[in-house]
C-alpha cells in the first residue's frame, strides 16, 4: 500500500448528500477483477451516457475537477453497500483523500486499507469548501495527515480527528494482514480457551 503523508491538489466538490456506493461504482462492475480499470467506472452512470459519451454537466467532466485527487462531499458520502470496489474506483481515478461531514462506516474502513484517506469535518466547514471550489474550480486543497489539517489557499487550517491506527496504516503504508499474522500466538492462545 502507498503511504499517504501530504497532498495539495485539485478537489472535486460533490454537492449532494447520501452519495451511495452504487453511484460511486454501479453493481454491474462488481464482477470485474481488481486489475480492471476501475477509475473508468467511477460515477459511471452520472458521468457517462449509455453510449459511453460524457455527460458534460456532471461535475467530474469539467476542467480542473477532472484532475481532482481530493473529493469534498456532503453528508453520508459512500453510504450503502460494503463493496470495496467503490474505494478502488476512487483510488484508480487518482483520488487519495475524501472529505465529508459523515461517511459510510464500511467505506471508511475499506479506504484505510487501500491508501485512501477519509476525513470528517463539520458540515459548515465542508459546505464552505464546496462553495469555494464551485466558485474557483482551480483552487488547490492541502491535506497534511501528520498534522491532521485541511486547508484552502490563504484559509485557516481545519484540524481533523483520525483513528490513530488508521493514521499509522496510511502514514506508513502498513500491511494490516502482515501485522496481524505476527500476532498469531495471541490468536492461538485465545482459541485454546475459547468455548464459542
Amino acid at each position: 500500500m502507498e503511504p499517504f503523508t501530504k497532498l495539495t491538489a485539485n478537489a472535486l466538490p460533490v454537492a449532494r448528500p447520501n452519495v451511495d456506493t452504487d453511484q460511486l461504482l454501479p453493481a454491474r462492475y462488481l464482477q470485474k477483477p481488481r486489475s480492471a480499470p476501475f477509475g473508468d467506472f467511477l460515477f459511471r452512470d452520472l458521468r457517462f451516457n449509455a453510449d459511453g459519451s460524457e455527460k458534460p454537466d456532471f461535475v467530474l467532466n469539467k476542467p480542473f475537477y477532472r484532475d481532482a485527487k481530493i473529493v469534498v462531499a456532503e453528508e453520508n458520502f459512500a453510504c450503502g453497500s460494503s463493496r470495496e470496489h467503490a474505494v478502488w474506483a476512487l483510488y484508480d481515478y487518482g483520488v487519495r483523500a475524501v472529505i465529508a461531514p459523515s461517511l459510510g462506516d464500511i467505506f471508511s474502513s475499506n479506504a484505510a486499507k487501500n491508501g485512501l484517506l477519509t476525513i470528517i469535518l463539520p458540515a459548515p466547514v465542508v459546505a464552505g469548501m464546496i462553495e469555494a471550489l464551485q466558485a474557483e474550480p482551480d483552487l488547490e486543497v492541502a491535506v497534511d495527515l501528520e498534522a491532521q489539517t485541511v486547508s484552502l489557499p490563504n484559509g485557516p487550517a481545519h484540524l481533523f480527528e483520525i483513528d490513530p491506527y488508521r493514521k499509522r496504516l496510511l502514514l506508513e503504508g502498513l500491511d494490516e494482514l502482515g501485522f496481524t499474522l505476527t500476532q498469531l500466538p495471541a490468536i492461538e492462545a485465545f482459541e485454546k480457551t475459547y468455548a464459542g
Binding site: 449532494r16 447520501n18 453520508n76 450503502g80 474505494v87 462506516d105 464500511i106 496481524t180 495471541a186
Partner: protein
C-alpha cells in the same frame, strides 16, 4: 459495571486491545457469497490459505439465475465466473458450501439463520452490508469489505474500534397491514440515512417482543440503511423456539446448555447507551419510499414534498433532482403513482412470512394489466415451504412469476433488472439511483404493500384491500 448486549458479545471476542483503541476480535462465523472472489484472490497473491475453514460457510446468491438452477445457463462469462469461483474457492479450502443444486441454497442472510448457523452471542461477519440481519438472533453481525474478508479468512480475526451504542425502544402495537418493514422505514425516515452511523443499534421494547424472528430480521437487515454498523435484538423465547431443531443448532444437553447461556445475553437494566431513540409503532402507517434514499419514506396516505418548502436552496435542488430522476411531481399523492414491475424477495423480505403476507393480499386477485410481478423466494427451503402451503399457486394464478432463490433484482448483479425508466414496487432495501438497473425507479415497501401494488397497478394502501375481505 452494567453492560449492554453489545458489550457482552464484544467482550467475549476480544483477543487483544491496543493502546490506540483498536481491538482484535475473534470471528465465530464467516459467511461467504459469490462476491468473494477478490478476497480469495488477495490470499492467493500472498500465498496464504484460509486458517479456520470450519468457521466459514458459503452459498452463491448475487450472480445466480432465478429462472433456472444451472450455472451453465449464465450467459455472461464474468457473472458465471463469480458463481464458479465461490464453488472452487470453498472446495479448495474445505469450506462448507451449498451450491446451486443444493436444495438449501439461497441468499446468505436467509440461509444462515434458517440453517441455525446464526445464533445468539456469536460474532458473525460477511462481505455484504446486510450482514446486520443476523443480529436479530442476538448475535453481533456486520458487513465488511474485500480486504477484511481476506483478513478474516487468513486469521479468523478482525481489527475493530468499538462503535458507540444506540438503544431503539419500540413501544405500542402494530395495526393490521403494518409490518416490520414499515417500522424500519419509519425509523430511518425519523433518524435519517446517517442517523445510526458509527453505532451498534439494539432494538427493544414491546413491539420488538411481539415481532416474529423473521420480522426482527427485516428490522436488523435495514439497520445499515440508517448507517448503523450492526442491528441486534436480545434473544428470547421466540428466538429459542425459532432455532430449536434447525440443522446446525445444538442438540440434547448441548442445546440446554446453550439456551442457559443465551438467557444471559441481554442488556443489564441500568446499562447506558450513547443514544436513546423511542418510537411508538402504533402511530405507523404502511410506508413507501418516493426518492433515492431509504430516508425518503412516507406513509402511503401522504403526498410528495414540495421542493419550494425545502430548508435551503441546496436541499431544494437535491429534491428536484430526485423527483426528476424518479419521474414524479412535487406534492403528488403517493397513491397516484403507477408501477411497471413488482419484486417480492431479497434478504430483507424473502422469507416465508413475507411470502405469506403477500399471498394473503394476492389470493383471489389478478396482477394488474401491464404489470410484471415476480416472487423470488429467499432460499430453496423458503420456496419449498411456500409450495407446501400452496402459495406458489396463489401467486401463479394471479399472474406472478414464481422463481428460484437468489438476490435477483434487489441489485441486478445476476442480470435480473428493470429497464431504464421502469418503476418498481419492491420489497428490497435500497432505492438508490440505478440500483435495480441503470435508470431504474424503485419504491421500497413491505411484501403486503408490494402485493397490493401488483394487483392495482399503483402504490396502494394495503389496508384498503384487507378491509374489503
Amino acid at each position: 459495571m452494567a453492560q449492554t448486549l453489545f458489550d457482552k458479545i464484544w467482550n467475549e471476542h476480544v483477543i487483544l486491545d491496543r493502546e490506540d483503541g483498536q481491538t482484535l476480535l475473534y470471528v465465530d462465523s464467516h459467511f461467504l457469497q459469490d462476491g468473494s472472489a477478490p478476497a480469495f484472490e488477495m490470499l492467493r497473491q500472498r500465498g496464504v490459505k484460509p486458517r479456520v475453514p470450519e468457521r466459514a460457510f458459503g452459498t452463491p446468491d448475487h450472480y445466480v439465475p432465478t429462472d433456472s438452477r444451472d450455472l451453465a445457463s449464465i450467459k455472461d462469462p464474468e457473472k458465471r465466473a463469480m458463481a464458479d469461483a465461490l464453488r472452487e474457492d470453498t472446495a479448495a479450502a474445505g469450506i462448507e458450501f451449498f451450491g446451486l443444486n443444493d436444495p438449501r441454497q439461497g441468499i446468505i442472510h436467509v440461509v444462515a439463520p434458517e440453517q441455525g448457523m446464526s445464533r445468539p452471542g456469536m460474532l458473525i461477519v460477511c462481505g455484504d452490508s446486510h450482514t446486520s440481519t443476523h443480529g436479530a438472533l442476538g448475535s453481533l453481525a456486520f458487513g465488511i469489505g474485500a480486504s477484511e474478508v481476506a483478513h478474516v479468512l487468513a486469521t479468523q480475526t478482525l481489527w475493530q474500534r468499538k462503535p458507540r451504542t444506540m438503544h431503539v425502544t419500540l413501544n405500542g402495537a402494530l395495526h393490521p397491514g403494518v409490518t416490520a418493514k414499515d417500522i424500519i422505514l419509519a425509523l430511518i425516515a425519523k433518524i435519517s440515512a446517517a442517523g445510526a452511523t458509527g453505532y451498534a443499534v439494539e432494538y427493544a421494547g414491546p413491539a420488538i417482543d411481539a415481532l416474529s424472528v423473521e420480522g426482527r430480521m427485516t428490522v436488523c437487515n435495514m439497520t445499515i440503511e440508517a448507517g448503523g454498523r450492526a442491528g441486534m435484538i436480545a434473544p428470547d423465547e421466540a428466538t429459542f423456539a425459532y432455532l430449536k431443531g434447525r440443522p446446525f443448532a445444538p442438540t440434547g444437553a448441548d442445546w440446554d446448555k446453550a439456551v442457559a447461556a443465551w438467557r444471559a445475553l441481554k442488556s443489564d437494566p441500568d446499562a447506558v447507551f450513547d443514544r436513546e431513540v423511542v418510537m411508538d409503532v402504533g402511530a405507523i402507517a404502511p410506508m413507501v419510499t418516493w426518492g433515492n434514499s431509504p430516508e425518503e419514506a412516507l406513509p402511503i396516505t401522504g403526498r410528495l414534498p414540495q421542493p419550494a418548502d425545502a430548508a435551503t436552496p441546496e436541499k431544494r435542488e437535491a429534491m428536484q433532482r430526485t423527483m426528476n430522476y424518479m419521474g414524479l411531481q412535487p406534492g403528488m399523492a403517493l397513491g397516484d403513482i403507477t408501477i411497471d414491475r413488482v419484486f417480492i424477495g431479497s434478504c430483507t423480505n424473502g422469507r416465508l412470512e413475507d411470502l405469506q403476507s403477500a399471498a394473503e393480499v394476492v389470493r383471489g386477485r389478478k396482477v394488474a394489466a401491464g404489470v410484471e410481478a415476480w416472487v423470488v423466494p429467499g432460499s430453496g427451503p423458503v420456496k419449498a415451504e411456500a409450495e407446501a402451503l400452496g402459495l406458489d399457486r396463489v401467486f401463479k394464478d394471479a399472474g406472478f412469476q414464481w422463481r428460484e432463490a437468489g438476490c435477483s433484482m434487489c441489485l441486478a448483479t445476476n442480470g435480473d433488472s428493470l429497464a431504464a425508466g421502469q418503476r418498481s414496487a419492491s420489497t428490497t432495501n435500497r432505492n438508490f439511483v440505478g440500483r435495480q438497473g441503470p435508470g431504474s425507479r424503485t419504491h421500497l415497501m413491505s411484501p403486503a404493500m408490494a402485493a397490493a401494488a401488483a394487483v392495482t397497478g399503483r402504490l396502494t394502501d394495503v389496508r384498503d384491500l384487507l378491509g374489503s375481505r
